[in-house]
């Protein structure tokens, strides 16, 4: 039982990072038909901006988080105007955009490597503080930071998507771009909001990943496939689904360590990804339709 609770805490920590990454990836996939392989590197960039502010400049972690979120959201916008919008105007196909995003991922990742080098970096957080909750169940200060920050933001995002006009139009666009457009939705504005949201959440996910694990230029890239698994699990384009998918994936990966070696947990996540695509490609929440 203790082991179950401990792995649950671990799973919620990594799962909330996946969820933050997955919401943006899923909305961009659904709305812009862009399978963004650079999304993981957006996360990494968030981590390094936080590192620059928090460690190099010695500012508090909260300032670092805000700076990371702002920087990655800005990058999302710049790329939309400079790359994605012109490509869509050219009528680029989904695989063309996908391959382009792989090139972009190379560029971002290696610019980070160029600027900050390949060494492991850590943010200025207490690495050792932990509390014994009861019995053999304990939680670290890092996990509390990750789960609390992600929890607040995820609830806020879910509320935004459900209640605000922007949130509703985002979901409508993801469901059917053309239908939303003929209904009079200002799609251009929603696209901008989508990038702002996707970039901010990716930036935050990167900072939390840097806090929870270590930060290298590959951090986001290694997370990306798990984030994809979360997106697929929740149904591509479904933002709520991505949120829940991320948490479920984190939990499944950590719970699996009770049965198989912990070093296999990523592989378990990828196995979930493959099985869901084969058995239920619309995701666990999606309705059956042509996908």
């Amino acid at each position: 039982m203790d082991q179950f609770l401990n792995t649950t805490i671990n799973g919620l920590s990594s799962g909330s990072i996946y969820a933050l990454g997955a919401i943006g990836l899923s909305l961009v996939y659904g709305i812009l038909k862009l399978v963004n392989f650079a999304h993981g590197d957006f996360m990494t960039l968030g981590g390094y901006v936080a590192f620059a502010v928090n460690v190099s400049a010695g500012m508090p972690l909260s300032v670092a988080i805000l700076a990371a979120v702002a920087a990655v959201a800005a990058l999302g916008l710049v790329l939309e105007y400079s790359v994605w919008a012109p490509m869509r105007r050219k009528g680029a196909g989904i695989m063309q955009l996908l391959l382009l995003s792989i090139g972009l991922a190379f560029v971002i990742r290696n610019m980070i490597l160029f600027e900050w080098g390949g060494d492991d970096r850590r943010l200025d957080v207490d690495q050792f503080q932990s509390w014994n909750l009861f019995g053999g169940v304990s939680i670290t200060a890092i996990q509390v930071t990750v789960i609390a920050t992600a929890g607040v933001v995820l609830v806020a995002v879910a509320t935004m998507l459900r209640t605000t006009l922007v949130g509703k139009t985002m979901r409508a666009l993801s469901d059917s771009f053309d239908l939303a457009e003929v209904s009079g939705v200002n799609t251009k504005r929603v696209v901008i909001y989508t990038w702002l949201l996707a970039g901010s959440l990716a930036g935050l996910a990167g900072v939390l990943a840097a806090i929870y694990t270590t930060l290298t230029p590959n951090t986001g890239w290694f997370l990306l496939l798990s984030v994809f698994a979360a997106v697929v699990l929740g149904g591509i384009g479904n933002a709520y689904g991505a949120l829940v998918g991320g948490l479920v994936l984190g939990l499944v990966q950590e719970w699996s360590t009770m049965l198989v070696r912990p070093t296999y947990k990523e592989a378990i996540g990828f196995l979930v990804l493959i099985l869901v695509l084969l058995v239920r490609p619309q995701g666990i929440f999606g309705q059956a339709r042509t996908v």
């Binding site: 680029a92 090139g103 190379f106 610019m111 695509l277």
Partner: protein, 312 residues
């Protein structure tokens, strides 16, 4: 040493390029001819490499190990293709990369068999002795060979043979059906062609070629590490494919040499920067090549625009 004149260095770069050429010819069958975006291609190279390594370290002769390795990679392609080939192109791409990672993580974890992160040592088995015999023989007739030459010749001969095989196949009805599948799957099916079976055959053939690349890679590097088979290897392969031109076999050769030159050939240039930073810049360049090609010339240097199909 003046590296520009160092024959061994350029033999190394060109051998690397040749292995990539074989690898990407396999990718070309899948992506260029059939329209299957396989991001897990490196997994079949890993199957070829580790099968070779495990057989050779257990005393099996090279003449059995090589065909078995290629067959194992082809079988891996069939195994992956059977459940996944019905998926839409973007889903197939994600599934293949996930499957490749599962294989790599498994190799990393099963240390008892594969050596794990410690590496599979002496995976090339008797290759080094054979190599020395060849060099001694040439020495005997008064020709002094660099120790890297035999593999360089074998690698490019393999690339040539695979290329010829593909050109010959290109004149058969078989590849015409593949191209029909790529152009319009529904139309090909309506004409009574077993589309699924053709995709499966293309994936198996592409995987077998990747398996051959794995065999050559084993001779090239002697010790195999799971890290050698990360998805980045496939993506560099895609950079070659995109640069040379999707659908063009000649483009694969040019792309391989150019990209291998950028990745390892630029080592002789003396940049006033740390080695780390230079390594990073190389991959920035490769990323920019992919981006620039996709934005301005998606058919690549030698591809044909009307043959390019990048829609899901």
């Amino acid at each position: 040493m003046d590296p520009l004149l160092a024959f061994g260095f350029w033999a190394f770069v060109l051998t690397f390029a040749g292995i990539y050429a074989v690898f990407v010819l396999g990718l070309q069958i899948e992506v260029g001819d059939t329209g299957l975006i396989n991001f897990g291609h490196v997994a079949f190279m890993a199957i070829g490499a580790y099968t070779t390594g495990l057989l050779l370290t257990n005393g099996v002769t090279v003449w059995i190990a090589i065909p078995v390795a290629i067959a194992a990679a082809a079988a891996g392609g069939l195994l992956l293709g059977l459940p996944t080939l019905r998926l839409r192109a973007d889903y197939f791409a994600i599934v293949t990369i996930a499957a490749g990672e599962i294989l790599r993580i498994t190799i990393q974890n099963e240390q008892g068999t594969t050596g794990g992160t410690q590496g599979l040592r002496s995976a090339s088995g008797p290759w080094r002795d054979f190599n020395r015999d060849v060099i001694d023989w040439f020495d005997g007739i008064g020709v002094e060979l660099d120790r890297r030459v035999p593999l360089l010749v074998i690698v490019w001969a393999s690339a040539l043979l695979v290329g010829l095989l593909l050109v010959v196949l290109g004149r058969t009805p078989w590849r015409r059906v593949l191209r029909a599948v790529r152009e319009n799957e529904d139309a090909a099916a309506a004409m009574g062609q077993p589309v699924f079976s053709y995709k499966l055959q293309a994936l198996a053939l592409g995987s077998a070629i990747a398996g051959l690349a794995g065999v050559l890679y084993t001779f090239f590097s002697t010790t195999l590490f799971p890290d050698n088979f990360e998805p980045i290897f496939t993506f560099v392969g895609f950079a070659i494919l995109i640069l040379g031109g999707i659908g063009s076999y000649f483009g694969v050769v040019v792309g391989s040499v150019v990209i291998a030159f950028i990745v390892s050939g630029t080592r002789f240039l003396d940049f006033p920067l740390d080695a780390d930073k230079v390594a990073a810049l190389r991959f920035v360049v490769i990323g920019l090549i992919i981006m620039g090609m996709m934005a301005f010339r998606p058919q690549g240097l030698f591809g044909k625009k009307e043959e390019l199909h990048l829609d899901a």
